[in-house]
């Protein structure tokens, strides 16, 4: 390397270091852990798009009291072994004012403990495991806890759809098991007889044996707790195997991809989720349009949830008028925000109460089926 070149590089490096330290004082940092590679990368893209839309909108509207928001994003591959070091880095090295999880239950649950110990506020956008907010008072969740959604599904199946003989197919991870537990906890109350239940792994795509056995069970409905990339294959194979029972899914199905894979078999599938595609609300409509323009595909539950969590973080930072972690935490706890997935305010545990949106696949697209708003049934845990 010539001497001039070396001096040039050194000067550039110094200049970069200087500008970044100057910038650091002018920005408010929000940390994000989100899967950008690995099996959950598609959901990660949706979550991040939702978060970015909220941040872009806020930055265009005077940021956080005049300061621009900077997103610090790390790829956790939806794995706890990555989310823990990421949480440590966000809290101690990047010194973010607040952090958002755009990831699944297992990594979020692991990261929550780290953020709690570092006393950095942490908002989970769409992870459902009940233990996440139990990490402590710095951890919040803007989506349904799994047991609430499981209970809503039981009401939907047993009461609203009137299906009594039910088979449950359970994805064997934090997410799937917690949903099934919620469903089972109130199944009897709605007159549901769970005639059989099956477990499968997230890597399974061939469900021939389960389909054969379900055909023999002859249920009225099937409640499935998998993600779209597993369950689309399950649903297709159930229909190919001539199982005609009503299939009820949940948030994990939410998105265009489920329909793209399952094709005709997706018709009539009903899910519990938190984004109403047929909403007349101008804010929701604007979000759906902006999301489609940015991501290149239609908005989904994960994108809407990422957007919701980011809006909560931004509202709290504005209200706190400081990036002090305790002030921000208290501001989040007191926040009242209208978001695309509903009105957000937290209980003592950091959980929200929201209506459950029931959506159905009709003519190859998600549409409103009904809304569940029973306050007793949907009450989140408070301790």
């Amino acid at each position: 390397m010539s001497k001039n070149l070396r001096i040039g590089f050194t000067a550039a490096a110094v200049a970069l270091a200087l500008t970044s330290s100057v910038r650091a004082a002018d920005v408010v940092k929000i940390g994000v852990n989100v899967p950008q590679t690995g099996f959950a990368a598609a959901d990660g893209k949706s979550a991040l798009t939702g978060i970015q839309l909220a941040v872009e909108k806020a930055n265009a509207n005077n940021g956080i009291n005049g300061k621009q928001i900077e997103l610090i994003v790390y790829d956790d591959q939806a794995s706890p072994k990555n989310s823990v070091p990421i949480a440590t880095k966000l809290a101690n090295k990047d010194k973010v004012a607040v952090a958002i999880s755009g990831s699944y239950s297992s990594p979020t649950r692991a990261a929550a403990g780290v953020f709690q110990r570092s006393k950095v506020p942490y908002i989970s956008a769409f992870a459902v495991h009940p233990d996440i907010t139990r990490a402590g008072n710095y951890v919040f969740r803007t989506s349904f806890v799994a047991e609430v959604q499981g209970r809503a599904a039981a009401k939907l199946v047993g009461q609203d759809l009137g299906k009594k003989r039910v088979v449950i197919t359970v994805l064997k991870n934090d997410y799937g098991k917690a949903l099934a537990a919620g469903f089972n906890s109130v199944a009897a109350k709605y007159g549901i007889e769970v005639v059989n239940s099956y477990e499968y792994s997230i890597k399974d795509r061939q469900f021939g044996p389960i389909v054969s056995s379900i055909k023999n069970d002859n249920p009225d409905a099937i409640f499935d707790t998998g993600y779209w990339f597993v369950s689309a294959a399950l649903v297709s194979q159930l229909r190919a195997g001539d199982v005609k029972a009503q299939i009820v899914g949940q948030e994990g199905y939410d998105g265009e991809k489920f329909i793209e894979i399952a094709k005709g078999a997706a018709e009539g599938v009903i899910i519990t989720t938190s984004l109403d595609r047929d909403s007349a609300d101008a804010d929701v409509k604007a979000f759906m349009t902006a999301f489609k323009a940015k991501a290149g595909y239609a908005a989904d539950m994960v994108g809407a949830s990422g957007n919701t969590a980011a809006r909560v973080a931004i509202a709290a930072l504005r209200a706190a008028k400081s990036t002090d972690h305790e002030a921000v935490r208290n501001a989040i706890a007191a926040v009242k925000v209208d978001a695309v997935t509903g009105k957000i305010s937290f209980n003592a545990l950091g959980e929200v109460f929201k209506n459950v949106q029931v959506q159905i696949v009709k003519d190859g697209a998600w549409h409103r089926h009904s809304i569940i708003d029973d306050p007793e049934l949907l009450a989140p845990p408070s301790k």
Binding site: Q36, T37, G38, F39, A41, A42, G44, K45, K172, S197, Y198, E199, Y200, S201, K203, D204, R205, Q206, G208, P209, I210, V211, S212, S213, K215, N216, F229, A232, A233, S236, A240, G241, D242, K257, E260, I261, A262, K263
Partner: protein
Amino acid sequence: MVHFELLVQGLVQGTIYALVAVGLTLVYGLLRILHIAHAGLFSLGGYIALLLANQTGSFAFGLACSVLLVGLAGMAIYRLAYQPILDKPPYVALIVSIGLYIIMEEVFRLVFGPSTISFINPPLQGIVEFYGIRLREVEIATMAVAILFIGGVGILSTKTRIGVAWRATVDDPEMARSFGVRLYSVRYFNFFMASVMAATAGAMVAVSNNMVEPTMGGVPAYKALAIIVMGGLGDVRGTLFAALALGIIESFGTIYLGSILDRDAIAFAFLIIVLMFRPQGLLVRN
């Protein structure tokens, strides 16, 4: 009746395993390389068949191109990755192979995107019904091509001159060479055949699930390894038997043991039991 269905479903799954594992065992038999990147070729086969079918509207065309291109890719892997290190200890090739597989998975993600891709018009979706069992055309087609390929390999290796050269090379490469067998041709041919089978399996799985994803080779990668170990490394008949047995055991296990062990755990429990009682492989006499 349910049991008969479970048996058939197990056989369907077993033939998919067999298509991948027989190729793997062929490579091991010839070169003593545990060719993990084979699973990457399985994914590549799925991607090429699906993308070309979506482009041209013809799955047959997509499948034909996939089989040919992946066969060539397998030969290229042999030439560029394995041939230069054949004189090194076997674990060197194993490490190279694992590295290759990881690279392939990441390249699929970078080139084709992290999400799943599906057929615009999924082929072979019709239902065939016999004795009360409903199978999709794709499942029947998978079994048919598996029989065709594996039977073909069997006939080729026992009844033809190429097969004689092939087996001679497996037994004693130096001796084979002294009798005029061109070692490199045999090896290229071996990789080509193995890769063709992997591509076919990948394409069939892509149709069956109506999707391809960058990580789709993950399960075949380690299951095929377990199968060729059970089959007695390098033994084609044993591998075929182990693949079908595993498919059937998984099928029943999913229903009757599913709440205790998941599918993978069942596969590895079976592997451990086989290794305890028949460490030389299921069908190997010794």
